[in-house]
Each structure stands twice: as structure tokens, then as C-alpha cells.
């Protein structure tokens, strides 16, 4: 057994190396969550539209992204974006685009289940009072679907936050990278990785406790 020495951890180190990474990880999570839910909802509506081409296009999008590992998707986008727009966007921006596009596929499956959980009578009632399809979705179906699926959407967001560590593949500076750089600079990589695991655990565990509480609240009202 070797001795672990956490003496290198101090406030200075946290503000210098780790804070920057945490900010990016949170940023990436929030942008990908909002963008992913918006695109995902559109994809879910396409899949439930009953129009053959829309259904096929959305199903192709979702199934393709869901069958490839996220690391490969990150590498794909990092390779393709510069080829398509002619210049490099940098690892951070590339990661934000990748995660938004990728998570949309997962959020869309959740939203699809949510929309299907709203009873048909609600839609018919909407049409009966003269609403258009758009109004019906906007005012009746989507608010309920969103609410029913809120715990699942948030759980997916916790997974998303964990997955942001995979930007390691293209070298973006996220929370994990912050720990790694700090560990290298102070020649204490073992302690740095261990501390990273603790920090991720504390964040994700607290968030999942919050989601569980919310779930109980929603369950009672329903």
C-alpha cells in the first residue's frame, strides 16, 4: 500500500484548474439538455405524425445515433464539422454540437413515450372544441407529456452530465480534464483521479436524490 497525499488540494488549485472544467461540463450539460429536448420533441412529433416520410426520417435519425457509441459520435463530429464548414471549431464547440444532436435522439424516445401516455380523449376533446393540430399539441398534449416525463428527462440529464466526461476523446477541457491537469501539474495523478470520482459521485448522487423527491411529489398529484 502506498500512502495517498491529498495535501496538494487547496482552494487555489480548485479555482485555477477545476472550476473552469466544472463550468464547461455544466454548460455543455445545460445546452445539450435544452437543445436536445427541443429537437427531441420535434423528432417525437415527426415519429407520431403518421406521415410516412417524416416517420422514416425521424426513425432513421434516432436509430442511427442510438446504435453508435457516443465516443464514436464525438469523433465523427470532430472529423466532419471542419470538412463541412471549412474551418475547425475547436473541441469545446464541437462537443456542444455533438451532444445536442446526440442527446436529441435519446430525449425524443422519452418524449414519444410521454406523448403516448396522454390519453386519446384529450386530443379528441381538443379537436372537438375546434383547436388546430398545433394548438392541440401546444396547449394540451405537450404540457402533460412533459410533466409526466419530467423525472425521466431529468434522469437522462444526469446520465448526460456523466457522459460529458467522454469529451476526453477530443481533449476538450471539462471537469475530468481539470482534475487530470491538476494531477499532472502536482505529480499526484492517483489522488486527482480518486478525488474526481468523489466529486462526480457527490454531484450525481445529490441530483438523483432530488429527482427521486420530485418523482414522489408528481406521483401524488397525479
Amino acid at each position: 500500500m502506498t500512502n495517498l497525499d491529498f495535501g496538494f488540494l487547496n482552494w487555489n488549485l480548485i479555482t485555477n484548474f477545476i472550476w473552469k472544467g466544472l463550468v464547461f461540463s455544466v454548460q455543455l450539460t445545460l445546452i445539450a439538455m435544452i437543445g436536445g429536448i427541443i429537437i427531441g420533441t420535434l423528432l417525437a412529433l415527426m415519429r407520431l405524425s403518421g406521415k410516412k416520410w417524416l416517420v422514416m426520417a425521424a426513425a432513421f435519425y434516432v436509430n442511427t445515433l442510438r446504435s453508435v457509441p457516443l465516443v464514436m459520435v464525438i469523433l465523427w463530429f470532430f472529423l466532419l464539422i471542419p470538412l463541412l464548414i471549412g474551418r475547425s471549431l475547436g473541441a469545446e464547440l464541437s462537443a456542444i454540437i455533438t451532444f445536442t444532436v446526440f442527446e436529441a435522439a435519446y430525449y425524443s424516445e422519452i418524449m414519444r413515450a410521454g406523448i403516448q401516455s396522454v390519453s386519446k380523449g384529450q386530443v379528441n376533446a381538443g379537436y372537438a372544441v375546434g383547436m388546430t393540430y398545433k394548438q392541440c399539441m401546444q396547449l394540451i398534449v405537450l404540457p402533460q407529456a412533459f410533466r409526466n416525463m419530467l423525472p425521466v428527462l431529468l434522469t437522462q440529464t444526469i446520465i448526460l452530465f456523466q457522459d460529458t466526461s467522454l469529451v476526453y476523446a477530443i481533449g476538450a477541457y471539462d471537469l475530468l480534464k481539470g482534475f487530470e491537469v491538476a494531477g499532472k501539474n502536482f505529480n499526484r495523478p492517483v489522488e486527482a483521479y480518486l478525488f474526481a470520482a468523489v466529486v462526480y459521485f457527490v454531484i450525481c448522487f445529490s441530483l438523483s436524490m432530488l429527482v427521486r423527491r420530485l418523482q414522489k411529489k408528481i406521483a401524488i398529484i397525479r
Partner: protein
């Protein structure tokens, strides 16, 4: 933009094209490397899946026992392995544990990854197994105990045969996830598909062709697992249950 898949016939060291595409005697070609990388991906995935199924079932069962302590152990296990990103867990297995426990230094990193990915997935499987046992009517457990079976016997002969059949569909998707998650092993230098993709793309600057081949192999691996699981599901179906077919 034209695809040029002839890159796979090139030797990895000399860069010369080999007519048969497989380097028989000389240096291996990129195709050889791709195939061996696929082998690594499948070995990591299959071995981790075995670890995950064994440990995950055990932890799932613990969480449904009447003993408070066993439940607590199962829950701590699940929370611990569920709330740390897989990549960070692999770093802990690869960098941290061998530094603390020196005897782990002689263990090949491949095995560390298998346990890392296996334990990570076991938390998810424990959730499914627990849910599967809980969907069974309480009467089944009581019937078993009333007949004089011990608790382990009740689990072995009454509860688990049904619970495992119930959880096959979610376990199928976990098995497909494990193929995808094995890609994270690139970060600890296991020569699997993603590692190959990164290295070979850099060496040949034929990224698109290489990524296409790798993505395709991931796709068919996950698809194959899906088919195998469907076969198992049909074979073990209990007549009269929902999903037992016609």
C-alpha cells in the same frame, strides 16, 4: 469526396498496399488490425457482461431480501457504481487501484477494464433484477416459504426462474449498451475498435473510411446480441405468459 477503402489493404508500418489485404507473413495491414480490434471489443464486452450479470443479479437479489443489512449493501453498491461516469471509474481501476494495492500491478489492464465495465453495468442490472422480482406477486414468496423451502431455496426454485424471464427484455438492451460502452476502454489503451479508429485515422488521414468501418462493426455487434437475446427469450418463454408468443 470519394471513399477510398483501399486504405485497409495498407501495411501499418510500411504503408505499402498488400494485394490480398491480409498481411500473411509481413507486417499486419489495417484490415488485420481492424479485425483484432473487433476481437478486443467483443472480448471486453462479453466478459464484462458475464461479470455484470453475476454481480448484478446478486445485488438485485440482496435488495429484495427481508434483511435490512443486505438491502443496504445492495443499495450502496448500486448508488456507488451508478453515480460515477464510466470513464472516471475506468481511470480509478487503471490508475488508482494498482497504486494503492500493489499486487494489482501484475494484473493485465484488460482484466481491470472487464471488472470496471462489469461493475458499472452490474448497478444497472441490479435495478432491473430487483424490479423483476418485485413484479412477482408476494404470494409466490410466501408459498415457497410456507412449503418449508429456505429463503435461498425460495429464490432459486420459485422467484428467480420467473424473475429472470421477466427481465430479459431490459437485459437485452443492457447487453447492447455494454457493446457501446466498451468503447470507453480506448482511454486506458485497450486496442479495441475506438482506439483503433483514433490511431488509424491519425496515421492514414483516411478518417471517414475508418470511422465508417468501425461504426458498422459496432452496429452489427449490437444487432447480433439483440438477435441472440431474442432467441433466448423465445426458448425460455413460459407458455401462457404474456410475450410467450403464439
Amino acid at each position: 469526396m470519394a471513399f477510398d477503402f483501399s486504405v485497409f489493404c495498407k501495411e501499418t508500418i510500411g504503408g505499402e498496399a498488400v494485394p490480398s489485404c491480409l498481411g500473411r507473413k509481413g507486417d499486419p495491414t489495417y484490415l488485420d488490425w481492424l479485425i483484432s480490434a473487433w476481437g478486443w471489443t467483443l472480448s471486453v464486452a462479453v466478459l464484462s457482461l458475464i461479470v455484470a450479470l453475476v454481480v448484478g443479479s446478486l445485488m438485485g437479489i440482496l435488495r429484495t431480501t427481508p434483511s435490512k443489512w443486505l438491502v443496504a449493501i445492495g443499495e450502496c453498491w448500486t448508488e456507488l457504481f451508478r453515480n460515477i461516469p464510466l470513464l472516471v471509474q475506468l481511470f480509478v481501476w487503471y490508475h488508482v487501484l494498482p497504486a494503492i494495492f500493489l499486487s494489482l500491478r501484475s494484473v493485465p489492464s484488460f482484466l481491470l477494464v472487464v471488472f470496471g465495465l462489469g461493475f458499472f453495468t452490474s448497478a444497472r442490472i441490479a435495478e432491473q433484477v430487483k424490479a423483476g422480482i418485485q413484479t412477482l406477486p408476494k404470494g409466490q414468496r410466501y408459498a415457497g416459504l410456507a412449503m418449508g423451502l429456505t429463503l435461498p431455496q425460495t429464490y432459486r426454485y420459485v422467484l428467480m426462474p420467473m424473475a429472470f424471464r421477466i427481465v430479459i427484455p431490459p437485459l437485452t438492451s443492457e447487453s447492447m449498451n455494454i457493446i457501446k460502452n466498451s468503447s470507453v476502454a480506448f482511454a486506458v489503451s485497450i486496442a479495441e475498435l475506438t482506439f483503433f479508429a483514433q490511431q488509424a485515422a491519425e496515421e492514414t488521414s483516411r478518417g471517414i473510411e475508418i470511422y465508417l468501418a468501425v461504426s458498422f462493426l459496432y452496429f452489427i455487434s449490437a444487432f447480433a446480441i439483440n438477435r441472440i437475446a431474442l432467441q433466448i427469450e423465445h426458448r425460455v418463454a413460459v407458455p401462457g405468459m404474456v410475450g410467450a408468443g403464439k
